[in-house]
């Protein structure tokens, strides 16, 4: 195996809570290969979002190192796109302006910016809403816009923090398929945080199961189901087995931890 795209080595994160320390991450190590789609699933408080924020450069680890392309992460960078659960679209900008935001900060010339924005807006199917303000969009459309915005700066890594968590079940399933189709047309390394076991198995090459108190990796489960994946797959016995394994791994740790 070549150098992993993302390499997390013994990362710890401790938050002071009152006089005590809350150990959000207690020594996490994880490698993610180039163009791999990894989902991270676990109960709340297992530090999965903290791990993502450290890779995004929005938080610093208390101990250990987080490497991207072999270099330690220091601060956010355009090679790592982040998609937030709360969409985080700039409400005063239209869909197009939101998608162009990162390219404007990177001083991409106007024509080129326009062209690339058009491309990614079409990729997520929002071409009819390019000039709409976020307030007029549904939750699913907002998140598609956020995905286009992240893609537009051409990151090699996408860090997604429960992006579909706030959506209804049907929209969520549709967006999962759309994300996979976007991803298979334009592959990136993806780390996708979720608390939805179905979602974790459906999307991933590999599911990382985390446990809480302290936050740690409990299990890593390979998902060797072929892409492209569709609705049929969810009904297949292979999918069911994998889902059960992941579910088991997530569920039983919680029973063991009465404090959670």
């Amino acid at each position: 195996m070549t150098t992993p795209k993302i390499s997390v080595r013994d990362v710890t994160k401790v938050f002071p809570v009152g006089k005590e320390d809350f150990v959000a991450l207690g020594g996490v190590s994880l490698d993610i290969a180039d163009n791999e789609f990894v989902t991270v699933v676990g109960p709340s408080g297992c530090g999965k979002s903290t791990l993502l924020n450290i890779l995004a450069g929005l938080e610093e680890p208390t101990g250990g190192t987080a490497l991207v392309d072999g270099k330690p992460v220091s601060g956010p960078g355009p090679e790592r796109g982040v998609i937030f659960q709360q969409y985080a679209l700039f409400p005063w900008l239209t869909v197009r302006e939101n998608v162009e935001f990162g390219m404007r900060t990177a001083k991409v010339p106007k024509q080129e910016r326009r062209r690339r924005a058009e491309h990614f807006i079409r990729l997520v199917g929002l071409e009819q809403f390019a000039d709409a303000l976020p307030k007029t969009l549904s939750g699913g459309m907002k998140q598609r816009c956020a995905i286009a915005r992240a893609y537009a700066v051409n990151p090699s890594i996408l860090l997604m923090d429960e992006p579909f968590g706030a959506l209804d079940a049907l929209t969520r399933v549709k967006l999962q398929e759309q994300l996979l189709s976007t991803w298979s047309q334009d592959r990136r390394t993806v780390m996708f945080i979720t608390h939805d076991v179905d979602e974790a198995v459906f999307l991933a090459n590999r599911v990382v199961v985390m446990a809480a108190r302290p936050g740690r990796i409990a299990d890593v489960i390979d998902v060797d189901l072929p892409y492209p994946r569709d609705e049929e797959l969810r009904l297949s016995p292979e999918f069911g087995d994998l889902r059960n394994r992941v579910w088991h791994s997530v569920y039983h740790q919680q029973v063991k931890e009465p404090a959670q």
Binding site: P76, V82, A88, L89, F90, P91, W92, L93, P134
Partner: protein, 266 residues
């Protein structure tokens, strides 16, 4: 005033219930007509009020001899100068306080202290220090507008959604860009609320300042009319002040609605 603020908080783009808003409009008109009728009735019944007709006649004379226009001009000039200076200063200081901890630490005690003093209470001191020209009045109005707007601006900057800041950072924006393209637009609604409060405060302070020390202006006109028991002129002054205040508030509100049309329904 209660009617104005209730309408102001209603989302601008809510044509959902035209019938209800029409009912409200009819009730507004009925209320105004009834109020005028009661006023007229009271003055005819021997109460000391001038009748609306007398007030109108007085207004006509004052327009004719130019005093109303001159007084209005003097008052508006003062309030706009003080309000403009106060708002600009408030936005600058508010941004500094929200963005830099040092600025916040240095400014906050003074602002909190002066906020508890009605700007008019500063007038005697200001008159002694700055004389009786235009500057003390403009200064007091400046103070009123500034204090009303600065906290609101500061709150706006502090309350900018952290996720939006993070989103800008992960899209490669540095501090300067984040400030200009995220913090400023995100705090605009707060600034506009502060400016509206500031305008109301400035207007109120102006008239009171003119009552105490001025050679021209609506407050001054009413003050001298008081000496001659000239009730119609006082009424003209009061009505002019109310109408101008309402117009300025509405203009600011319209500008605000244009600037913050992107907001999710409030």
């Amino acid at each position: 005033m209660a009617v104005i603020s209730a309408e102001a908080t209603r989302p601008a783009k809510a044509p959902a219930r035209p019938r209800k808003s029409r009912t409200l409009l009819v009730l507004n008109i009925v209320s105004i007509v009834a109020g005028l009728a009661i006023w007229w009735g009271l003055s005819l019944a021997g109460f000391q009020f001038p009748t609306p007709a007398e007030v109108l006649a007085s207004a006509w004379t004052m327009i004719g001899n130019g005093t109303l226009v001159a007084d209005t001009g003097a008052s508006l000039g003062r309030v706009l100068a003080g309000f403009a200076l106060g708002s600009v200063a408030a936005i600058l200081v508010g941004f500094l306080m929200g963005w830099y901890t040092i600025a916040r630490g240095l400014f906050e005690p003074w602002i909190q202290f002066f906020r508890t003093i009605p700007p008019l209470a500063m007038l005697p001191l200001v008159l002694v220090l700055m004389g009786i020209g235009e500057s003390p009045k403009i200064f007091v109005i400046f103070l009123a507008a500034f204090l009303a707007c600065v906290i609101s601006t500061y709150q706006g900057v502090v309350n900018v959604d952290r996720t939006l800041l993070n989103a800008a950072r992960v899209l490669g924006a540095r501090d300067g860009t984040i400030f200009a393209r995220v913090v400023v637009p995100a705090s605009t609604p707060f600034i506009l609320v502060g400016m509206r409060v500031g305008l109301g405060s400035a207007w109120g302070t102006l008239v009171a300042a003119e009552l105490l020390a001025a050679q021209a202006g609506l407050g001054h006109r009413m003050q001298s009319a008081q000496l001659y028991y000239d009730l119609p002129t006082i009424f003209v002054g009061i009505i002019t002040i109310g109408v101008l205040g309402l117009i300025m508030d509405r203009l600011l509100m319209l500008a605000g609605n244009k600037l913050t049309a992107w907001q999710e329904s409030r």
